[in-house]
Amino acid sequence: MRIVAVLAIGGLALSAAACGDKPSSNNGSSGNGKKYKACMVTDVGGIDDKSFNTSAWQGLQDAKAANGNIEIKYSASKAETDYQPNLNALVTEKCDLILAVGGLMTDATKAAAAANPAQKFAIIDSNIPAANVYSMQFNTAQAGFLAGYLAAGSSKSGKVATWGGLKIPPVTIFMDGFAEGVAHYNKVKSKTVAVLGWDNKSQEGLFAGSFTDQNKGKQLAEQLVAQGADVIMPVAGGAGLGTASAAQASGGKTSVIWVDADGCKSAAQYCDVFMTTVVKNIAGAVKDAVVAGADGKALTGAFTGVLGNNGVSLAPYNKFDSKVPAELKTEIDALKKDIVDGKIKIESPAQPK
């Protein structure tokens, strides 16, 4: 009798758990009629990752604000095995555009696009050459180049540094650009500013092995500062906040170049140490794509965010505005123009083709 009861309760618990396991979803609006429905599938980081999922969702919200006829929703992936079911569920829901966030979703999106040729898809940080997929990629090496030049020009010790979360192309592309920018500064000014933490020729460098471990980010910063670095660019999401914390404790001796979204907005408590941010404008690209789709324009091919189309950029200097010499600012503006015009070629192997 007792065993039966235990089994019954266990069964109940299991079925309850199974119910709870459904991919959670959220309707951004509950419109009816002929609205343009843009849906997205998040990566495992979730909607609050303060990185590309948050940015992509922000893009959808901006699109909705710009055009009231747009309806938005997202499905959260808790594990990589959720990608395929989440995409399929959205196909069934007849979304007009399904946005896959992150290069990890490449295979799942490719399969879903092949199985549903009439359905429109879009993907961030990947390139899928299919007629019904709109690929969005970002050449952050271009903005990283400007950041490297700025760092080299601002360093008093002649040593600047960068470190990454993991050695993957969306990370190393920032570091490549940074190192190339420093090298360009050295060439133009006949200086010998050294880059710690990344060598773009051998593609080797310093990595925390984590995008969340702030303690590691702090330890790495302390090591780099001990070796003389006075400008550090962490490319590691939340783990980089540890470096910002160490810089704040240094009382102005060390400054930080942030990445992804303007640090003075996304991590405002450290605004006084952020020299600038290498911005990857995912929200803008997503918004433009969705608004264009809602206007009935065909979304095919690929979008590459570059300095020229503001897909990547250098954020305002914020509190460093008065500290960065006017001459250096002018040089950086000129460099930006040279990169846009193709006079300066960036060599990072991680660049979108």
């Binding site: 609050d48 050695k167 330890q219 090591q223 001990a226 914390s245 404790a249």
Partner: protein, 414 residues
């Protein structure tokens, strides 16, 4: 057969390995891919030592070979194993460090001060964790739950520290939460006789779950009110902090490093020179005998397990209010398990555990340094190094260790 087995005792096997590794180091680091640039050891801000790396590396490799030969030929007594291992492997590690630095892309200067400082900072949470293990396991309760106790400590430190605007309150809350976690461990292990390894793992999952949910629901959305604790400010020990090299490495920390070192001393003394320590060890080795002498076995175990949890909780707080960073989901990232390895490598003694933790910390600081100057070793391999060192130390060097005899065995009065 027996004579072969007798000849190849542990010292001789180690000796043969050292000869081989030493020769490899000399041939590879000194001849086939030789160190080129001079290496500078920066000892203090204005004292440094520059030397040609190649001859030094060759000498270090030969030291390892010589130790190996000595072990093979004369030093066959067991007592020679530990110090020879230290000399031989220490020389090898230095040879590797100098070689990597000499061939690095950017700088050829080793900031000794920062390297040792980094070692101590990386080791401190592990020391707390391993001490928690010492307290529990010496009384016979296996503590796989160190990871969870560190995590709730880090969590409570950040949450309470922010809400009360006092890092001290955060510190106390961290200890108390660690102790509560340990109390759960104690009740299930001692009263309900649940398998302690399984129990520890389950409690770790519980700690991930609770802290994860509260983090996502409360601390992440309202970071300013709930996840924004201050930091314990560094306190420079007057006088001592001015000693060259040692001062900056040892005496310019905040509370946590001093507390960890003090606890190592205090627990060593208490464990081996007080009545409490004798009782703890008796209960861990032979609870039946202890019971016969009138020691309350279960009470001792409850007390020690909860004390261990308190210590681990304090260690967890170092990760948040000790470092001045916010709490993050699963931020302990396996430190509790490395602490467990340090406990075993240190043979369940506080000083041994501390040395093991320092070894791990050094491996970590060294890999960060070598990666940052772009040494010829691939960064993925370097990132593995601290874990490899731990694995190698526990499996290869410790040999046969003896846990407290009653470790993990619940005591049932019979």
């Amino acid at each position: 057969m027996t004579t072969v087995a007798q000849f190849w005792n542990r010292n001789r096997i180690a000796g043969a390995v050292y000869v081989l590794l030493g020769l490899l180091a000399v041939l590879y680091f000194g001849v086939s891919n030789p160190a080129k640039n001079d290496v500078t050891l920066r000892l203090t801000a204005d004292t440094s030592l520059t030397f040609g790396a190649r001859p030094v590396i060759i000498v270090l490799g030969l030291v390892t070979v010589a130790v190996g030969v000595a072990l093979l030929a004369v030093l066959t007594a067991r007592s020679h194993f530990a110090w020879t291992a230290g000399v031989a492997l220490g020389a090898l590690v230095l040879a590797f460090l100098f070689w990597g630095t000499s061939l690095a892309k950017t700088l050829h200067t080793i900031p000794v001060e920062a390297l040792l400082y980094g070692t101590l900072i990386a080791a401190t949470p592990l020391i707390f964790g391993a001490l928690a293990g010492v307290l529990c396991e010496r009384s016979g309760v296996v503590n796989i739950n160190i990871e969870g106790q560190l995590l709730v400590g880090a969590f409570a430190g950040a949450l309470v520290g922010t809400m009360t605007k006092s890092v001290w309150a955060g510190l106390i809350a961290a200890g108390v939460c660690g102790a509560l976690m340990a109390a759960l461990l104690a009740v299930f292990a001692i009263k309900y006789l649940v398998d302690q390894v399984v129990l520890g793992v389950v409690l770790n999952v519980l700690a991930f779950g609770i802290t994860g949910v509260i983090y996502e629901r409360l601390m992440q959305p309202n970071a300013a009110e709930y996840n924004n604790a201050g930091q314990f400010k560094p306190w420079e020990v007057p006088g001592l902090s001015d000693i060259p090299l040692l001062g900056p490495v040892l005496f310019r920390h905040n509370l946590f490093v001093y507390l960890a070192l003090a606890l190592v001393a205090a627990i060593t003394f208490a464990l081996f020179y007080t009545r409490w320590g004798l009782r703890t060890r008796a209960v861990g080795e032979h609870p039946t005998a202890a019971d016969t002498l009138g020691i309350k076995v279960r009470l001792v175990r409850y007390r020690n397990t909860i004390m261990g949890g308190f210590v681990a909780g304090l260690g967890g707080a170092m990760l948040t209010i000790g470092a001045g960073v916010t709490f993050n989901k699963e931020m302990t990232a396996g430190k509790g398990f490395i602490a467990l390895a340090a406990l075993i490598f240190g043979r369940w003694s506080p000083v041994g555990a501390m040395l093991a933790a320092l070894l791990f910390g050094f491996a970590d600081a060294m890999q960060q340094f070598l990666s940052s100057v772009i040494s010829p070793v691939p960064s993925q391999f370097l990132q593995m190094a601290p874990y490899l060192a731990t694995l190698f130390a526990v499996a290869g060097l410790v040999g046969k260790v003896r846990a407290p005899a009653a470790d993990g065995k619940p005591y049932v009065k019979g």
